[in-house]
Amino acid sequence: MQNKNKWYRYGLQIFFFVFIGMIAVNLVVSETGTVLFPFLPDVSLHAICPFGGIESIISLVTAGTLVPKLHLSTLVISVLVLFITLIFGAVFCSYVCPLGTIQEWFGKIGKKIFKRRYNTFIPRKLHNVLKYFRYISLILTVIITYNAAKLIFVEVDPYYAMYHFFTDEATIGGLIVLGVTLIGSLFVERPWCKYACPYGAVLGIVGKLSIFKVKRKTESCNNCTLCDQRCPMNIELSKKTVISDTLCNRCLDCVADCNVCPMDSLVFTAKKIKAVKNSDCDESPSVVEPPVEGENK
């Protein structure tokens, strides 16, 4: 049942992965005079990249302009994604972003290889330091983009490289970062998202203001820490009541896995959580081993 309802997310991830891929291929092929998918828009990926509006935020505010290669459509997509984030949090990362999707796919291979050790290789202390690197990445990207007046981030952008690896548009830097990210995904869940993605940093901050959040009913929770072990972003949910961590991408795997508890101690809701009297659950903390992907079917 858990895996069944995850397919709503997986389905949307696959849809956007393929949809954006088709747009990228369409543009490349159209240069030869052939239109492969006439029903798709003939646009560059920059025109529909939601990060574009953020990248050129300084020139947008100070001069009312976007850097070259970006257009009004970029700004529209940026606003729409921010709007979604204000409602649900950073669901863009977990339901839409193709780079997040491909990291998850590589992660599934890593889970098969390393089983329960997967996503535990980076010590918590180091993780707590590394996770701030994406803010540095964001600040550098915005400032350098403004100073250079061009999309400088594309030089190391694994997302752009992923969809242009078959053309000379893919930069060496982008391909290297993509390679490192995918190899890293075999050991760590979503390494790019957790430690480097400047757009994830923005959505994480905006997500703190979201209407819907993951919340923990402390009265019913027996501190089994299953959610901590399940969280792909290594958030310690069992120590919080409202999960407003900027790393949380609302994949809701924690909520899904917590359904094993009859009291549903983790919920994704806009409401304030009420104290729930749990006579069915064991009051004493108990540690539950998380199911390994593929074992709970």
Binding site: M1, K4, N5, K6, Y8, R9, G11, L12, L27, S30, E31, P41, V43, S44, H46, A47, I48, L60, A63, G64, T65, L66, V67, P68, K69, L70, H71, L72, S73, L75, V76, I77, V79, L80, V81, F83, I84, I87, F88, V91, F92, Y95, V96, A149, K150, L151, T167, D168, E169, R250, L252, V255, A256, N259, F268
Partner: protein, 261 residues
């Protein structure tokens, strides 16, 4: 839980695709073109022409690679385009285009580029202001790769500088060959002071017959090229053009007289 995920998926699809459709309906969905966002939003995008923009863009080539991949190449701009068409495709406000080329029109969106020829023919400029000029201006404005350099007006060069589209050094260079629509002359040495210019003591595009004579060019030398040099205020550059003579060669020859004087 199942329902919640379904709601999230549905919301994402509806907001993203619905939002794009809504922005198209509002005329703010531009996947190509320039970067003047705030002005672009505040201006009506009507083209004033009966043609759909799609008909125009079908004939335009896009940059196949490089920094401007997917963008329309301004080289495809034709004389039949209106300023409104250019605004729609390249996102440069029609009023900016009109200002750049000295067009005073209550509805600049409707101005057809090929009308430049009729408008500026009477001025008999040495440098043509026409479709090529608009292509050149659009390329500079959007920071696109530059093909052939074309004539620009001083207004256009000023606008490019005021909007932060060109560097100071490029501004100086462009001004050297820009046409001043008020005087009808090329603004040579636009960045050079009058004193410095005089100190150079050379025949340039601004030099008249009488100035050349006072610089030391012999009458005979001028008469080698021009039959009538009685009008001392006549620009040598304009006279060369009217006689279909190479102005560059003439200046070199005349300046040799000055240097040897």
């Amino acid at each position: 839980m199942k329902f919640l995920r379904f709601v999230i998926v549905l919301s994402i699809v509806v907001i993203l695709f619905g939002g794009v459709q809504a922005s198209k309906a509002l005329g703010v969905w531009h996947t190509t073109g320039g970067v003047q966002i705030l002005q672009g939003l505040s201006i009506e995008t009507a083209t004033g022409s009966d043609r759909a923009i799609g008909e125009l863009t079908d004939a335009l080539r896009k940059y196949a690679s490089g920094d401007f991949e997917g963008e329309y190449d301004p080289e495809g701009i034709r004389g039949s385009f209106t300023f409104g068409d250019v605004e729609e495709i390249f996102n440069i406000d029609a009023t900016i285009l009109a200002s750049a080329f000295g067009i005073e029109d209550t509805n600049p969106s409707d101005f057809i580029i090929s009308d430049f020829e009729a408008l500026y023919e009477k001025y008999d400029f040495l440098i043509e202001i026409g479709t090529g000029s608009v292509k050149y201006f659009v390329a500079l404005y959007n920071n696109f790769p530059i093909g052939e350099t074309e004539g620009l007006t001083t207004y256009a060069v000023d606008i490019l500088k005021d909007h932060g589209k060109i560097s100071e050094s490029l501004y100086q260079d462009l001004m050297l060959a820009a046409i001043d629509l008020e005087s009808g002359y090329i603004v040579y040495a636009g960045a050079v002071t009058e004193e410095e210019h005089e100190a150079e003591n050379k025949v340039t595009g601004e030099t008249t017959i009488s100035q050349a004579l006072s610089m030391g060019v012999p009458e005979e030398a001028l008469k080698q090229y021009f039959n009538d040099i009685s009008d001392g205020d006549a620009l040598i550059q304009n006279m060369a053009k009217s006689e279909n003579l190479p102005f560059g060669d003439i200046t070199l020859a005349l300046n040799e007289y000055i240097e040897n004087d």
